[in-house]
Symmetry: C2
Subunit: 423 residues, 2 copies
């Protein structure tokens, strides 16, 4: 029984999208997974350690399906700039600095520390084109006990000379070196994910090689899809023979099915792309804070979720201004209301319970059995102290979750990943 | 020189909308007003106390042009409800509880405490229909040293029987009693403001009496205007002889000019209302967090500001989910981007500098010479510790303001109103 323990308290999760399940009792962890939930602790567990989380909220660890770790350093700045200005003045120069491993180490330490203290336990992360810096980030995340898919970027066109892999051959060789080193490192909870930045940054020749690497290494992939209208036009011009933007990935085996895939944004997907995503079980990373900041528009996330697409949330740091998925949940509800008002009144706005589903069970599915307090699921749990929110009223558990999302300032006091206490 | 002192540090304000002025030096306060700004402290002030705010940001105190104090208790909850459900289940029952003075005292203490710790120094506040509770709130704000206009609500129709003034006569008598007691109280920095909730809640007969009270007492007024399309239709049905929604106030002398006026929202104003607001110097309380939550739409705040309307920000607690005007500034930029995307591409989104202008100089004008660090202005200053935002980079003052808005968590360490240190 040495790998067995229990948490006691108020557990909130979302086995069904749109419905909060709130239970007071005991959640038993056995060998890293949820053994069961009990109103009263069964006699057979009388001797196991019990951590009492009285007065707090316990939710499944959140999964962040899209974020750019090297951009964290300027998170929440330069939001008034146009996209190209932003890329040229902030993104590319900052990402290029990760060629310097000392820089990468120092900056990723701050990122990893802040991610550790957030409600996020699993994340799909864009790094930079640099193998060594990417491995450094993976080591730090592994050491912190967080679960992650991390991608060394692939880029060989439409990027500045000082920040490019230049040719498909050089890019492939470096990506192979990175994948090999990941294997050697033997990480337990951190995995490589192929990361062509987006079609405009990757030649067809390189995309083809990335597809080959995916099959050879059985690697997942992540990228961006149909975020804004001019990007879609650009992709059409760059790949005139592709049927859709999605097809520029799919024709190289990089769009779901065997290749586990996350696509960020998906704001303007035509029906053909929707179909491909549904059939290929492509995960949609809905990034509502980014939708607020980048002027691209608002993704039809409520429809995706309700029609059974694989849908999770992404902070999209630093197009999104915060790592805090609670804030991203509030933004998801808010932008869906504005979408309802201005774009499509046939789809009711997202509710907070749906937002919590996306942040936990929805996104968690990318990482395996993650995001629910059910037997056999990874024991990923986050204990939240929301006492900073003055409590003149007796708030219901649902209202407390809502206040964590809207007010901010809730503190994560304990955090478990696969049953390990990492905070 | 006993009423003279200086702050030393980095001062940021916005004498011109859209431009941040950042100055390192000394701001001298004499008898509650700004005497001047100096790069180096003049010899004649060598003996005055100097407070060094090294490493911090100093901005003018912010002015919140619209908020409902009794709704603070459920701030950040019930955001998934439809408006009518929200009013019936939260707003009216909660506001009705302020008939109990003990309840009002306890709840307003929490509100006043939190307002004191925010960046807000001046506010225009809706209370409830209760004279005694409203006076209690005014006493608390005065004692805290905050500047405010506070309104006992006027409501005699379309409200539940348990929360109504029932007849124009009873309403007028109670409002007169309140105005008289305000005079007797002799508040220094807190003033009454007539507050017909909005036209649907106030009969024409009562509105006429409120107009009379405004002239008799020289009192300002605040209300709501053209927030959503069904509200506008409702007003048309209730007041078929009024030319516009604005006219339902204006025909009783309650729309700018002699009667200093704030109108909250102004999302769907027809040209005629715009003209009336411009001519009457009506203050527009733009409430972007409310725009995000209430599904009404997004006000054309960028146009109002750039065309020279009197424009400030309102937190609109609890339609807005936070008292923090920094968060409201970020929301102002964000919703203006979505408005640009979906409604009107002729008006560029608001910038953060414009948002700071609205939160300080723009809204401050309602309270007098408030919101700038210029000679003769009220010495309202807020000292901000933003060290919680990791500073891997050397951020510019503009970037630091932006991070306060987007990231939250900046701490107000010192606060001055009319030269009094209230925090």
């Amino acid at each position: 029984m040495s790998n067995t323990f229990a948490l006691k308290g108020l557990f909130i999760d979302t086995p069904v999208p749109g419905e909060l399940r709130c239970r007071e009792g005991f959640l038993v962890c056995e060998n890293g997974t949820v053994e069961g939930f009990y109103d009263a602790l069964p006699e057979r567990y009388a001797a196991v350690p019990v951590r009492d989380c009285a007065g707090k909220l316990i939710i499944p660890g959140m999964s962040d399906l899209h974020l750019h770790a090297p951009q964290y350093s300027y998170c929440g700045t330069a939001m008034d700039l146009e996209l190209l200005e932003w890329l040229d003045n902030y993104t590319y120069p900052e990402e290029a600095r990760y060629a310097d491993i000392a820089h990468a180490k120092a900056y990723y330490e701050v990122f990893t520390r802040d991610l550790l203290h957030s409600a996020t336990t699993r994340a799909a992360i864009f790094a930079t084109i640099h193998t060594d810096a990417t491995l450094e980030l993976m080591r730090q995340l592994e050491k912190a006990g967080l679960g992650a898919y991390v991608g060394k970027l692939n880029m060989d066109r439409n990027c500045p000379d000082f920040y490019s892999e230049h040719t498909p051959e050089r890019g492939e060789a470096e990506t192979r070196r990175w994948l090999d080193q990941c294997r050697e490192a033997g990480f337990e909870r951190v995995f490589p994910i192929l990361t062509p930045r987006f079609t405009p940054s990757v030649t067809d020749a390189y995309m083809e090689k990335i597809g080959g690497l995916s099959r050879e290494y059985g690697a997942a992939m992540q990228s961006h899809l149909s975020e804004n209208l001019s990007e879609i036009e650009w992709v059409k011009a760059l790949c005139p023979d592709a049927e859709t933007y999605a097809d520029t990935y799919a024709r190289y085996g990089l769009f779901g099915g065997e290749c586990k895939t996350i696509m960020a944004h998906c704001i303007y997907c035509p029906e053909a792309e929707d179909r491909m995503m549904k059939e290929g079980h492509v995960f949609i990373a809905h990034c509502p804070t980014s939708n607020e900041n980048v002027i691209a528009g608002v993704a039809p996330a409520a429809r995706y979720l309700r029609q059974g697409y694989e849908t999770g949330l992404g902070s999209d740091v630093a197009g999104g201004h915060t790592l805090d998925l609670f804030a991203v949940m509030a933004a998801a509800v808010q932008v869906s209301k504005l979408r309802w008002r201005y774009v499509d009144q046939s789809e009711k706005p997202l509710t907070m319970a749906e937002a919590l589903y996306m942040a936990t069970a929805g996104g968690g599915r990318f990482f395996g059995k993650v995001g629910l307090f059910e037997e056999g699921y990874c024991f990923d749990a986050v204990v939240i102290d929301d006492s900073a929110h003055h409590n003149l009223r007796a708030f219901t558990p649902a209202e407390r979750i809502e206040r964590c999302a809207y007010l901010g300032g809730a503190r994560v006091t304990d955090k478990y990943v696969d049953g390990h206490k990492i905070l």
